[in-house]
């Protein structure tokens, strides 16, 4: 190949004319692919507290918390509901795939910065 000085110049002129590729985030919203795996979200009505999600979570960020009791036949059994620590969650979607009642869903929300860590804990599902 012949050695040239400045063989990048023609491309530089072409790039100069085309619009820049920098995305306007945070001034303009970022377009995410609709499969984007962002913040986990739970639907309290559908969640029956079966605990499968706590079992399969690779980072053990789901704990089952006692929320009272439920009647099974004539016996009173303790009812546990999941509490998600989203600071540890890696949005892998393992719990979403294994939830039989599809109460879980990965939203496209990714801005999770908060002042104190406690806001990261999602207690939405802790209802009777």
């Amino acid at each position: 190949m012949p050695r040239k000085l400045g063989s990048a110049v023609p491309e530089m002129i072409r790039t100069l004319i085309q619009p820049p590729v920098t995305e306007g985030y945070p001034f303009k919203p970022l377009q995410l692919s609709e499969r984007f795996r962002g913040k986990l979200d739970v639907d309290p009505e559908r969640c029956t507290g079966c605990g499968v999600c706590a079992l399969v979570c690779p980072v053990f960020c789901i704990d089952m918390i006692d929320v009272g009791t439920r009647k099974v036949g004539d016996r009173e059994l303790p009812l546990k509901k999941p509490e998600f620590d989203l600071a540890i969650c890696i949005s892998c979607g393992e719990c979403v795939d294994n939830c039989a009642f599809n109460a879980l869903e990965l939203t496209r929300q990714f801005e999770l910065a908060t002042a104190n860590k406690q806001d990261m804990v999602m207690r939405k599902a802790l209802v009777k």
Partner: protein
């Protein structure tokens, strides 16, 4: 008397050079960004024009940290000296008319001395901050200075040879009919390459190689000192380019139609148009090339540019004689 002081302070003097320096920095960051598909500064001011000023002011009130084993006095005062060099030499370049603010018969040699003085100050300054990065940066700086200095001086002196005088003002006035560039294109090219080396712009940004020695001789500076050092690097570009405009492109001279508009306006616009054209040329070259190794830079200057500038000077002598 007051007029010259005013001129020195405002128009072709300090205020003018500093604003030009800030605009050049914005222009460089914008063009380089656009040529690599990025947006460049866009927040402060319309299209980010005030970004360099914002950076300068922000740095002013940042805390200034001094390394414990640095040489205190040099570390504190050298940045100021380096800042003065381009400002003082800018006074000798005619901007608003064929005559400069200050001029005497040997001011071209004074310019050469100021260039050497500026590099000397930087070398001492980076050695004084005694961190391993800056000491090596100063070693590199001196090695690079030694290689580009002679071709630079020869290419500066060639127009003086043609015109027969060492005053920039007279060189500019002699070019009213024909630009020097037409007679000495090579010394113009050598001057531009040497200017790139002096300002440590790629392909010669070896002393301040980002990926190798963090920020080269700027590494240990912060706060006010860093603000002024960064600004003086830009002023160096403004002065270098305006010197090229004066010596090779006929300074502010150009056809001046009779009209009510004062004649200075035409001269200044001619000067600015040539200056920005030269600036864009430098920015394109800066974006298109990779960084050389110090040995290749030295070889380039000693083996190629030095003989070229000598040949050009000899050619001019023959033509003149």
């Amino acid at each position: 008397m007051i007029l010259t002081i005013l001129q020195a302070l405002i128009l072709p003097g300090i205020a003018f050079t500093i604003t030009l320096g800030l605009i050049f920095e914005w222009l460089e960051r914008k063009t380089m960004a656009r040529m690599t598909g990025r947006v460049g500064p866009m927040v402060a001011g319309p299209a980010g024009v005030l970004q360099p000023l914002a950076d300068f002011v922000k740095l002013l009130y940042k805390e200034e940290v001094m390394p414990s084993f640095a040489d205190k006095t040099v570390f504190r005062y050298a940045p100021g000296l380096f800042f003065l060099a381009p400002l003082v030499s800018m006074l000798f370049v005619p901007v608003i008319g064929p005559s400069a603010v200050a001029s005497f018969s040997l001011d071209l040699l004074l310019i050469v001395f100021i260039l050497a003085y500026a590099t000397f100050v930087v070398a001492v300054l980076s050695y004084a901050s005694a961190s391993s990065f800056t000491t090596v940066a100063s070693g590199r700086l001196v090695l690079q200075y030694v290689s580009y200095e002679i071709p630079l001086v020869i290419s500066i002196v060639t127009p003086a040879l043609l015109v027969g005088s060492l005053s920039i003002q007279e060189i500019v006035q002699a070019q009213s009919s024909r630009w020097n560039l037409l007679l000495m294109p090579f010394s113009f090219a050598v001057y531009i390459v040497a200017l790139l080396a002096e300002l440590e712009k790629p392909p010669f940004d070896i002393p301040s190689a980002k990926t190798e020695i963090v920020a080269g001789w700027l590494t240990e500076f912060s706060g006010r000192a860093l603000a002024f050092l960064k600004l003086s690097k830009e002023l160096g570009l403004v002065f270098g380019a305006s010197l090229a405009v004066a010596l090779f492109l006929g300074g502010p001279l150009g056809p001046v139609p009779q009209s009510i508009v004062p004649v200075e306006i035409f001269y200044t616009t001619y000067f600015l148009v040539k200056l920005f054209a030269l600036g864009l040329l430098i920015f394109v070259v800066r974006t298109a090339l990779a960084r050389l190794k110090i040995i290749d830079a030295a070889v380039l200057f000693w083996k190629i540019l030095l003989p070229l500038s000598l040949a050009q000077a000899f050619f001019v002598l023959v033509v003149k004689g």
